[in-house]
Amino acid sequence: MIYENAQSKIRIARWLYSPTARALGALVVVFVLGLAFNADGAFFNWSTHRDMLRAVSVYGILACGMTLVIITGGIDLSVGSILALTAVSFSLLTIHRGISAPLAIVLCLLIGAACGVGSGLLIARFSIQPFIATLAMMVFARGLGKLISGGQKISTAVQLPDGNYSYVEAPQIFTFLNSKVAGDNISVVTLVFLVCLIISWILLTKLRPGRYIYAIGGNEAAARLSGVPVSAVKTLAYGLSGLFCAIAGICQASQELQGDPEAGVAYELSAIAMVVIGGTSLRGGRGGIWLTLLGVLTIGYLEKILSINAVGEDKRLMLTGAIIIAAVLFQKTRK
């Protein structure tokens, strides 16, 4: 009896040290903060949580792709720019060219994937460091987005030949993605985020390329010498990241009812922060998608709590920075 109790105690103790437990711990702490600073009870309304999920979904979708890339031991700085590029493309195709939603979605996914594959080839074939390659893609995609949009937001206001503007109805796909379902209780983009999480989970845990992603991040030399197709898998990871950026871009455009070439600036930093706080190591080879979900929720709740309490901008920045550091230190407890 005593032996069994001891065994289960050891098992519990071991779980408490696991990355999942630590990420969960950070989330619980933030949640408790929300309960304490609940802004006249606003924190107890479901609408607050539903809106937090809506706001964080686009970042979360970016974080899914970022998780894949970080586990391979790389990084993707271009996610914000690809988001803007695809947001602009989607708006142009559906609003101004009247192209059907499914076709426009497929084209935008291809654009995002192409950007990702471009970065991936630079990294895998030409051995350029991920930081530099994706930095270059970040600048290039941003420029491309500004080029095809003429530097202007692509909205439902269409310019007529005489220079004046008239407005058209927003395409149905926009209103659909911007809406809520299940009795107004959950936003469509949150469901899209959930689907992206599940796709990432299946890839990382159930498919062969997922195992290869972990192997390459854990020890690239060992993976290569074991016959793992390292170049192909890396290119796949970055290509998928680009694909997720495109999904995020379409969601962003729908929520803003416009494609903004300036969208997504500094989103890559939020995505990276969410992945890191979740416990996936930047060194690669460790981590997982559910950890990223915990990181996404942690940051999402943090921002929401600061927002409903109308905390001033200066204090917000300092608090967010401090909590990110605290969460990461908490992750670093001794093995």
Binding site: A39, D40, A42, N45, S47, T48, D51, R54, A55, G150, G151, Q152, K153, S155, T156, A157, Q159, G163, N164, Y165, Y167, N178, S179, K180, D184, S187, Q252, Q255, E256, L257, D260, E262, A263, E303, K304, S307, I308, A310, G312, E313
Partner: protein, 315 residues
């Protein structure tokens, strides 16, 4: 061998791009006067609009040719580009500087050389320039405050969504507004810095909606912010109970929102592009112009949008 190939490809690509850029600047006929326009950045749509306004006004006059340079928000770059205008012998310079102090010397240099300089929207220091054209954010904010007070019959709960509060437009639109509603029963129940961005405004509005059951009006420092707040309210089913007011009134943005009924009103923040070209013509034709020209602003509401808005009285 690989490296040489790479260099050749890079040079070829660069040559194509640069030659493509150069072509656009060839004009059909010889213009009489060349104007150099130095824009601090083209990242803000409002500045893109400013350049567009200048171009439209200048196109109507065949004796004018305008060369646009974009400093990409870099003061040193803008200084260098202005110096290029001076040495290329521009007949007149229009400049919208990023910051006052670093660009004052180069503007003074042009002015002292006899090149007329029109400073647009943001100031330089001192008086070594021909003319300053700009709108007054404080006045606009105050006008908005007074208009809102009138609309709400001097009493109501207002949410203020602010632009970047470390920038003067944000501070001025904020302080002007406070001045405008002073003495009335208008209460600002929630304020947040949405940094001019629509997604941020939507998020902040969601928080406000979660906290307060009664909101009468949202005053946003720019139209994208007001639009974001509208979307948040719409998602909560409360957009009919709340009025929305924004600033900028760009024809493809704020004015459309007013037409659609999204915004109750939008206060124009004029770019001054058209006025700049008109004043430039006067200067080039030898006429005297005022040193300070404050642009008038219009307010666009659903009632007056077809007539092109209503001028705000100068107060």
């Amino acid at each position: 061998m690989k490296k040489i190939k790479g260099l050749l490809i890079m040079s070829a690509v660069m040559a194509v791009i640069i030659s493509g850029c150069g072509k656009k600047e060839k004009s059909e006929t010889e213009a009489k006067w060349t104007i150099g326009m130095s824009q601090c950045n083209l990242g803000e749509p409002w500045r893109v609009q400013m350049n567009a306004d200048i171009k439209k006004a200048a196109d109507a006059h065949t004796e004018l040719k305008v060369i646009f340079k974009d400093a990409q928000n870099d003061t040193l770059k803008q200084r260098a580009q202005t110096e290029e205008f001076i040495s290329a012998g521009a007949d007149l310079i229009i400049i919208s500087p990023k910051e006052a102090a670093p660009l004052t010397p180069v503007v003074a240099q042009a002015y002292q050389k006899g090149i007329p300089v029109i400073v647009l929207d943001r100031r330089v220091l001192g008086d070594q320039y021909t003319c300053f054209i700009g709108a007054d954010n404080k006045k606009i904010g105050k006008a908005a405050g007074k208009w809102i007070a009138q609309l709400l019959a001097n009493e109501g709960k207002v949410v203020e969504l602010m632009g970047l509060m470390t920038s003067t437009p944000g501070q001025d639109r904020n302080s002007g507004f406070r001045e405008g509603i002073e003495g009335t029963g208008i209460e600002i129940i929630f304020e947040a810095d949405m940094k001019w961005l629509e997604p941020n405004a939507r998020r902040e509005m969601e928080s406000a909606l979660a906290r307060f059951d009664e909101i009468d009006l949202v005053y946003a420092h720019n139209d994208p912010g007001a639009h974001g707040a509208y979307l948040a309210a719409q998602a909560a089913g409360r957009e009919k109970d709340i009025k929305f007011v924004g600033i900028d009134a760009l024809p493809q943005e704020g004015q459309i929102y007013v037409k659609q009924g999204v915004l109750e009103a939008s206060f124009e923040y004029p770019t001054g592009g058209k006025e700049a070209v008109e004043i430039a013509l006067e200067i080039l034709n030898g006429k005297e112009v005022q040193k300070e020209i404050t642009l008038s602003s219009r307010v666009f509401t659903k009632e007056n949008i077809e007539q092109g808005g209503q001028l705000l009285s100068q107060q």
